[in-house]
Point group: C2
Chain length 101, copies 2
DNA sequence: CGTGTAAGGAATTCTGACACG
DNA sequence: CGTGTAAGGAATTCTGACACG
Protein backbone atom coordinates (compact mmCIF):
# COMPACT_ATOMS: atom_id res chain seq x y z
CA UNK A 1 0.00 0.00 0.00
CA UNK A 2 2.75 2.45 0.81
CA UNK A 3 4.86 3.89 -1.96
CA UNK A 4 6.98 6.88 -2.74
CA UNK A 5 3.95 9.04 -2.20
CA UNK A 6 3.79 8.14 1.45
CA UNK A 7 7.49 8.27 2.26
CA UNK A 8 8.27 11.10 4.61
CA UNK A 9 11.39 12.64 3.16
CA UNK A 10 10.65 16.30 2.42
CA UNK A 11 11.81 19.08 4.71
CA UNK A 12 9.57 21.93 5.72
CA UNK A 13 11.24 24.52 3.51
CA UNK A 14 10.47 22.51 0.38
CA UNK A 15 6.96 21.79 1.60
CA UNK A 16 6.47 25.50 2.09
CA UNK A 17 7.59 26.17 -1.50
CA UNK A 18 5.43 23.38 -2.88
CA UNK A 19 2.27 24.39 -1.04
CA UNK A 20 2.74 28.13 -0.82
CA UNK A 21 2.04 27.94 2.91
CA UNK A 22 4.29 29.59 5.48
CA UNK A 23 6.32 27.35 7.74
CA UNK A 24 4.41 28.90 10.64
CA UNK A 25 1.12 27.66 9.21
CA UNK A 26 2.46 24.21 8.50
CA UNK A 27 3.75 23.83 12.04
CA UNK A 28 0.50 25.17 13.43
CA UNK A 29 -1.61 22.64 11.53
CA UNK A 30 0.55 19.98 13.07
CA UNK A 31 -0.01 21.48 16.52
CA UNK A 32 -3.75 21.23 15.87
CA UNK A 33 -3.49 17.57 14.94
CA UNK A 34 -4.20 17.95 11.22
CA UNK A 35 -0.92 16.64 9.94
CA UNK A 36 1.75 14.30 11.27
CA UNK A 37 5.25 14.65 9.91
CA UNK A 38 7.99 12.31 11.01
CA UNK A 39 11.24 13.56 12.49
CA UNK A 40 14.87 12.95 11.73
CA UNK A 41 17.10 11.90 14.60
CA UNK A 42 17.75 15.50 15.39
CA UNK A 43 14.18 16.66 15.17
CA UNK A 44 13.79 18.07 11.68
CA UNK A 45 10.29 17.50 10.33
CA UNK A 46 9.87 15.26 7.28
CA UNK A 47 6.75 15.22 5.08
CA UNK A 48 5.40 12.98 2.30
CA UNK A 49 3.69 13.92 -0.95
CA UNK A 50 0.49 12.72 0.67
CA UNK A 51 1.07 15.25 3.44
CA UNK A 52 1.51 17.95 0.82
CA UNK A 53 -1.82 17.06 -0.78
CA UNK A 54 -3.44 17.14 2.63
CA UNK A 55 -1.95 20.56 3.32
CA UNK A 56 -3.42 21.85 0.07
CA UNK A 57 -6.82 20.55 1.13
CA UNK A 58 -6.41 22.24 4.49
CA UNK A 59 -5.44 25.48 2.78
CA UNK A 60 -8.63 25.34 0.68
CA UNK A 61 -10.80 24.81 3.72
CA UNK A 62 -9.07 27.58 5.64
CA UNK A 63 -9.72 29.93 2.73
CA UNK A 64 -13.38 29.08 3.09
CA UNK A 65 -13.08 30.23 6.68
CA UNK A 66 -13.37 26.79 8.19
CA UNK A 67 -11.57 26.47 11.52
CA UNK A 68 -8.86 23.90 12.10
CA UNK A 69 -11.05 22.11 14.62
CA UNK A 70 -13.80 21.66 12.04
CA UNK A 71 -11.31 20.55 9.41
CA UNK A 72 -10.03 17.94 11.80
CA UNK A 73 -13.56 16.70 12.49
CA UNK A 74 -14.20 16.46 8.75
CA UNK A 75 -11.09 14.36 8.28
CA UNK A 76 -12.08 12.06 11.09
CA UNK A 77 -15.54 11.66 9.60
CA UNK A 78 -14.12 10.87 6.19
CA UNK A 79 -12.01 8.18 7.77
CA UNK A 80 -15.03 6.77 9.55
CA UNK A 81 -17.04 6.67 6.36
CA UNK A 82 -14.27 4.77 4.67
CA UNK A 83 -14.08 2.33 7.55
CA UNK A 84 -17.82 1.72 7.39
CA UNK A 85 -17.71 1.27 3.64
CA UNK A 86 -14.86 -1.22 4.01
CA UNK A 87 -16.76 -3.11 6.66
CA UNK A 88 -19.84 -3.34 4.48
CA UNK A 89 -17.81 -4.62 1.56
CA UNK A 90 -16.23 -7.18 3.82
CA UNK A 91 -19.60 -8.16 5.19
CA UNK A 92 -21.05 -8.67 1.74
CA UNK A 93 -18.09 -10.70 0.64
CA UNK A 94 -18.42 -12.88 3.69
CA UNK A 95 -22.13 -13.35 3.08
CA UNK A 96 -21.55 -14.13 -0.55
CA UNK A 97 -18.89 -16.72 0.09
CA UNK A 98 -20.52 -17.88 3.27
CA UNK A 99 -17.32 -17.58 5.19
CA UNK A 100 -17.49 -18.37 8.85
CA UNK A 101 -15.10 -17.53 11.68
CA UNK B 1 5.30 10.62 -17.53
CA UNK B 2 6.68 12.41 -14.51
CA UNK B 3 5.24 11.68 -11.10
CA UNK B 4 6.17 11.90 -7.47
CA UNK B 5 9.03 9.56 -8.17
CA UNK B 6 10.73 12.10 -10.37
CA UNK B 7 10.11 15.20 -8.31
CA UNK B 8 13.31 16.58 -6.92
CA UNK B 9 12.45 17.42 -3.33
CA UNK B 10 14.82 15.48 -1.08
CA UNK B 11 17.82 17.11 0.54
CA UNK B 12 21.23 15.47 0.62
CA UNK B 13 21.09 14.53 4.28
CA UNK B 14 17.97 12.43 3.76
CA UNK B 15 19.41 10.94 0.59
CA UNK B 16 22.49 9.97 2.54
CA UNK B 17 20.35 8.21 5.15
CA UNK B 18 18.23 6.49 2.52
CA UNK B 19 21.16 5.23 0.46
CA UNK B 20 23.78 4.74 3.13
CA UNK B 21 26.21 6.78 1.03
CA UNK B 22 28.23 9.63 2.48
CA UNK B 23 27.40 13.13 1.33
CA UNK B 24 30.91 13.33 -0.02
CA UNK B 25 30.26 10.36 -2.31
CA UNK B 26 26.93 11.72 -3.45
CA UNK B 27 28.46 15.07 -4.37
CA UNK B 28 31.35 13.37 -6.07
CA UNK B 29 29.08 11.27 -8.28
CA UNK B 30 27.46 14.49 -9.32
CA UNK B 31 30.87 15.99 -10.10
CA UNK B 32 31.51 12.99 -12.35
CA UNK B 33 28.26 13.49 -14.21
CA UNK B 34 26.44 10.43 -12.90
CA UNK B 35 23.63 12.24 -11.18
CA UNK B 36 21.92 15.58 -11.61
CA UNK B 37 20.15 17.07 -8.62
CA UNK B 38 18.29 20.31 -8.90
CA UNK B 39 19.00 23.26 -6.66
CA UNK B 40 16.88 25.48 -4.46
CA UNK B 41 17.18 29.20 -4.94
CA UNK B 42 20.01 29.26 -2.47
CA UNK B 43 21.87 26.32 -3.87
CA UNK B 44 20.82 23.38 -1.75
CA UNK B 45 20.74 20.17 -3.77
CA UNK B 46 17.39 18.41 -4.25
CA UNK B 47 17.02 14.78 -5.33
CA UNK B 48 14.16 12.56 -6.51
CA UNK B 49 13.35 8.95 -5.63
CA UNK B 50 14.60 8.08 -9.09
CA UNK B 51 17.91 9.68 -8.17
CA UNK B 52 18.02 7.56 -5.04
CA UNK B 53 17.51 4.39 -7.06
CA UNK B 54 20.24 5.49 -9.42
CA UNK B 55 22.59 6.12 -6.51
CA UNK B 56 21.95 2.61 -5.24
CA UNK B 57 22.84 1.25 -8.67
CA UNK B 58 26.00 3.33 -8.67
CA UNK B 59 26.87 2.05 -5.21
CA UNK B 60 26.53 -1.54 -6.44
CA UNK B 61 28.79 -0.93 -9.40
CA UNK B 62 31.36 0.86 -7.27
CA UNK B 63 31.42 -2.13 -4.94
CA UNK B 64 32.26 -4.27 -7.93
CA UNK B 65 35.21 -1.96 -8.45
CA UNK B 66 33.82 -0.27 -11.54
CA UNK B 67 35.10 3.27 -11.99
CA UNK B 68 32.77 6.21 -12.22
CA UNK B 69 33.78 6.81 -15.81
CA UNK B 70 32.77 3.27 -16.78
CA UNK B 71 29.51 3.58 -14.88
CA UNK B 72 28.74 6.72 -16.77
CA UNK B 73 29.47 5.03 -20.09
CA UNK B 74 27.17 2.17 -19.11
CA UNK B 75 24.38 4.59 -18.34
CA UNK B 76 24.85 6.35 -21.65
CA UNK B 77 24.78 3.02 -23.48
CA UNK B 78 21.61 1.98 -21.71
CA UNK B 79 20.01 5.22 -22.78
CA UNK B 80 21.14 4.68 -26.34
CA UNK B 81 19.72 1.17 -26.38
CA UNK B 82 16.41 2.49 -25.17
CA UNK B 83 16.43 5.20 -27.80
CA UNK B 84 17.12 2.68 -30.53
CA UNK B 85 14.40 0.37 -29.23
CA UNK B 86 11.96 3.28 -29.17
CA UNK B 87 12.92 4.25 -32.69
CA UNK B 88 12.37 0.71 -33.93
CA UNK B 89 8.98 0.55 -32.30
CA UNK B 90 8.09 3.86 -33.82
CA UNK B 91 9.33 2.71 -37.22
CA UNK B 92 7.27 -0.45 -37.07
CA UNK B 93 4.21 1.45 -36.04
CA UNK B 94 4.71 3.86 -38.89
CA UNK B 95 5.17 1.01 -41.34
CA UNK B 96 2.13 -0.75 -40.01
CA UNK B 97 -0.12 2.26 -40.23
CA UNK B 98 1.61 3.55 -43.32
CA UNK B 99 2.08 6.96 -41.81
CA UNK B 100 4.00 9.45 -43.85
CA UNK B 101 5.77 12.67 -42.88
C1' DC C 1 -8.10 31.31 16.90
C1' DG C 2 -4.70 31.74 13.38
C1' DT C 3 -0.64 33.71 11.93
C1' DG C 4 3.38 36.97 11.83
C1' DT C 5 7.74 38.04 13.71
C1' DA C 6 12.18 38.63 16.32
C1' DA C 7 15.44 35.63 19.17
C1' DG C 8 19.01 32.44 19.99
C1' DG C 9 20.81 28.11 19.41
C1' DA C 10 21.67 23.90 17.03
C1' DA C 11 22.06 21.29 12.85
C1' DT C 12 22.57 21.40 7.67
C1' DT C 13 24.62 22.38 3.47
C1' DC C 14 28.01 24.47 0.49
C1' DT C 15 32.64 25.14 -1.59
C1' DG C 16 37.57 24.65 -2.09
C1' DA C 17 41.41 22.34 -0.31
C1' DC C 18 44.63 18.99 1.61
C1' DA C 19 45.53 14.04 2.34
C1' DC C 20 46.30 9.37 0.86
C1' DG C 21 47.00 6.37 -2.65
C1' DC D 1 40.70 7.98 -8.82
C1' DG D 2 37.67 7.99 -4.96
C1' DT D 3 36.81 9.39 -0.53
C1' DG D 4 37.67 11.32 4.22
C1' DT D 5 38.18 15.36 6.85
C1' DA D 6 38.74 20.08 8.95
C1' DA D 7 37.34 25.02 7.83
C1' DG D 8 34.40 28.90 7.59
C1' DG D 9 30.39 30.87 6.10
C1' DA D 10 25.64 30.99 4.82
C1' DA D 11 21.06 29.16 5.06
C1' DT D 12 17.73 26.05 7.60
C1' DT D 13 15.11 24.46 11.27
C1' DC D 14 13.57 24.36 15.99
C1' DT D 15 11.19 26.06 20.19
C1' DG D 16 8.87 29.31 23.16
C1' DA D 17 7.11 33.79 23.31
C1' DC D 18 4.87 38.17 22.33
C1' DA D 19 1.54 40.54 19.31
C1' DC D 20 -2.94 41.30 17.32
C1' DG D 21 -7.50 40.28 17.28
Amino acid sequence: MSSYKDKKVITIGIVSELTGLSERKIRYYEERGLIFPERTKRGTRKYSFTDIELLLKIADKREEGIQTYEIKKDFINETKKKDIRDQMIRGQLNAHFNIRK
